[in-house]
């Protein structure tokens, strides 16, 4: 299966595979945790049952997604050492403390309060339960902050010096944490997580509206999700543009590859809409381009010269074709999200938000697109970092652990098989949960005996989720 590949290629494949699987879950759970906190707060404030129904509905989906995020994340935290031990040794003094802070300030918070959020409402009461829900949401955001600081430092290293054994050592923690690309990347990713969640919630709401447009919970979630899109999608386009300009400043080769600029353009660079990057001839075949627009976007002036990859040594170039396409997929989806938001706004103004079936169908189609955009974006930034792990300072080939190709191939095979099996099943369960209407609960239940530690609500509430009509448990 992996014959003839070097240990480095295999280790990179393994990292790409495990991190791509992993990012799907945080992208969803960061947004969903905040959404749950809002739903819970709204329920406490208004005592409107619809909010409670939605909270319980999405809470169960969150539990499954969060579980998958946790187990795939533990793999990540050990993979730096197993496959990239030289990188770990060299960057540990700078990046290790940031990751330790992530564990201390985020992971424990999420894990510690998750149990109370999922199972503890009856035991601790509404107020403490709200606090726990808020802490889980806060934890997810803290986690994003630290890990994006780590990734940003790898892209735009700052505040370090190099010691006699070749390790990066900290000089200024402020500069390390708030390195040049960190603020842009953090905003871009958190907005992406919120958009991803909004699209999923909107898609699920739309599905149930198509079945029954009087369903109060479906109407509420669809409306909330569409407002989110209206507000956040344009913000995201703006944030993405700012992030791109920051990248141009610090990682010009990455932007050249994204834009497909093999050649320098002293007269002002065109924006290449589409084409086929050709690594042999170092040109874009069949390019459809708008003259001067790239200079306008990147430099705000039509005639500003833009350097191309011909100014970069070949051994320092990222792979153009991947970046060229992943960047375009991300941007197109970003505009599609903004378009869906505008469409919903138009529908809302005409009083057709819950009646426009084509809007609902489009929302369902866009439901998974946040994940696609997040993956495309991460591929753009991470592949664009190549051939370095620490940009311009530490090459990927010099970061590898002393591992042999067969060992990495074996573990990669195991990860692929296990991930497809485990996360395939999990995705199936989540989709099945989403397929169920957020039925309004029997109002008598909350005052009756409620589960405390020990009985998973699954049996109490999910009897209808299972594929078997017989009662469970005893």
């Amino acid at each position: 299966m992996f014959d003839g590949l070097t240990a480095e290629t295999l280790a990179r494949m393994q990292f790409a595979f495990t991190v791509s699987f992993h990012i799907i879950f945080p992208a969803f759970s960061i947004g969903l945790a905040s959404y749950l906190a809002v739903l819970n707060a709204q329920w406490l404030r208004t005592r409107d049952e619809t909010y409670y129904t939605l909270f319980e509905y999405w809470k169960k989906i969150f539990a499954v997604a969060f579980g998958m995020g946790v187990v795939s994340g533990i793999v990540m935290s050990y993979q730096f050492g197993t496959n990239w031990s030289v990188f770990s040794d060299k960057t540990g003094p700078v990046l290790g403390p940031l990751m330790a802070y992530e564990v201390l300030s985020a992971f424990f918070l999420e894990a510690g309060f998750l149990g109370i959020m999922l199972f503890g409402r009856a035991r601790v009461g509404d107020r403490l339960h709200m606090f726990a829900t808020a802490m889980v949401a806060f934890g997810t955001l803290m986690s994003a902050t630290w890990i994006l600081s780590v990734n940003s430092w790898m892209q735009t290293p700052a505040g370090y010096s190099i010691n006699e054994v070749g390790q990066f050592v900290p000089e200024d923690w402020w500069q390390i944490v708030f390195n040049p690309s960190f603020p842009y990347r953090l905003v871009h990713m958190v907005l992406a997580a919120f958009l991803t969640t909004a699209l999923v919630v909107g898609g699920v709401g739309a599905l149930h509206l198509l079945r029954d447009k009087t369903d109060a919970a479906a109407r509420r979630m669809f409306s909330m999700a569409m407002w989110m899109l209206v507000v956040v999608a344009p913000l995201q386009i703006f944030a993405g543009d700012m992030h791109g300009l920051n990248t141009l400043e610090h990682q010009p080769a990455k932007v050249m590859a994204m834009e497909g600029h093999y050649d320098s353009h002293p007269e002002g660079a065109p924006l290449i809409l589409f084409g086929l990057p050709n690594a042999e001839t170092k040109s874009i075949d069949y390019a459809i381009e708008i003259p001067k627009l790239s200079s306008l976007i990147l430099k705000h002036d039509l005639n500003t010269p833009l350097a191309g990859l011909d100014t970069i040594p070949d051994e320092d170039e990222p792979p153009v074709a991947i970046l060229f396409w992943s960047f375009r997929v991300m941007v197109c989806l970003g505009f599609a999200m903004a378009g869906l938001g505008l469409w919903s706004l138009w529908g809302r103004l005409r009083g057709q938000l819950y009646d426009s079936r084509w809007l609902h169908r489009a929302s369902i189609a866009m439901g998974p697109m946040g994940f696609v955009a997040v993956l495309a974006g991460w591929i753009t930034t991470e592949v664009g970092r190549q051939p370095f792990t620490v940009y311009g300072l530490l090459r990927t080939s010099d970061s590898l652990a002393p591992v042999s190709a067969p060992a990495v191939a074996a573990s990669l095979t195991a990860f692929v098989i296990v991930y497809f099996f485990i996360f395939g099943a999990g995705t199936f369960y989540i989709l099945r949960m989403m397929n169920k209407a957020p039925a309004t609960r029997n109002l008598g239940l909350r005052d009756g005996p409620v589960r405390a530690a020990g009985i998973t609500p699954a049996q109490q509430v999910d009897r209808d989720i299972t594929d078997d009509p017989t009662p469970q448990g005893n």
Binding site: G67, V75, P93, V94, I116, A453, D468
Partner: protein, 334 residues
Amino acid sequence: MLFDLSFIWAGIIAFAVLTYVVLDGFDLGVGILFPFATSERDRATMMNSIAPVWDGNETWLVLGGGGLFAVFPLAYAVIMPALYMPITLMLLALVFRGVAFEYRWRTTRWRGVWDSAFFGGSVVAATMQGIALGALVQGVEIEGRAYAGGWWDWLTLFSVLTGLAVLTGYALLGATWLNMKTEGELQCQMRGYARWLGAGTLAAIGLVSLLTPFQDPEYFRRWFNLPGSLFSLLVPGLVALCSYALFQGLKGSRDAQPFLAALGLFVLSFIGIGISFYPFIVPPGLTIAEAAAPDESLMFTLVGAVVLVPLILGYTAYAYWVFRGKINPEEGYH
């Protein structure tokens, strides 16, 4: 020396690993005992006894790995490739058992699959952790700043023995935990298991202790010279005390006592390993001071640890307090 940052950090990492071992130890133990439950109701009770806390328990493992990366990056860079296979198998096992907590409630047709994943994942994770421990005690071959040994160095009779020892010990923790958290037939069943597992754990501790000095004569010297010899004098007595408390508690109605006694056995064993290792972090060649990151890294991380670890212990304790007491399988049924 005592106020040396790297030494303080060695203590914190040791504390994190010990906390991981005792906390995730009992919930892995519950997974190991899972197939011995006689009814779906017992299985639900067992799983529900740890459902609200397992995730927090496992986070200590991430702190162990992440902390090592932060403050002893060289040790992390050496240990992980040295233990490539056991670590990878442990991670895959933890994936299986972690998702089982949620998945088993989402299906009836596949419930058996996820129950097996929960059991198998727990067994493999526990065994691999024990094997990793044994492989470290044996010593790791280093050249320059990298692991220089072979792919199978970790697999010896000794490491298989430590693997089985940890498996048995975790099962004991699981049995005593369930003895504390359950009632009726399930409790009786677990109490019976705890007696056997207690005897097995003591035998394993004895055997590993006897064999450890043969792994490296250096260990022997540390045990019989100050300050290690003080501990050597105390250990047999303390182990005897814990064992007495364990079996005594299993007879009586003090349900928390056996669990606490089993924890005591783990703490004692752990301190013993610490004495064997000191001042090395990766025996036989890498000391705590050599593996440490620069003081700027240690200090920056220490500030966070000093503030956040007590806070974490506080809200973790609160979460345990919220879900205290016996589990009532009838609760929540209509």
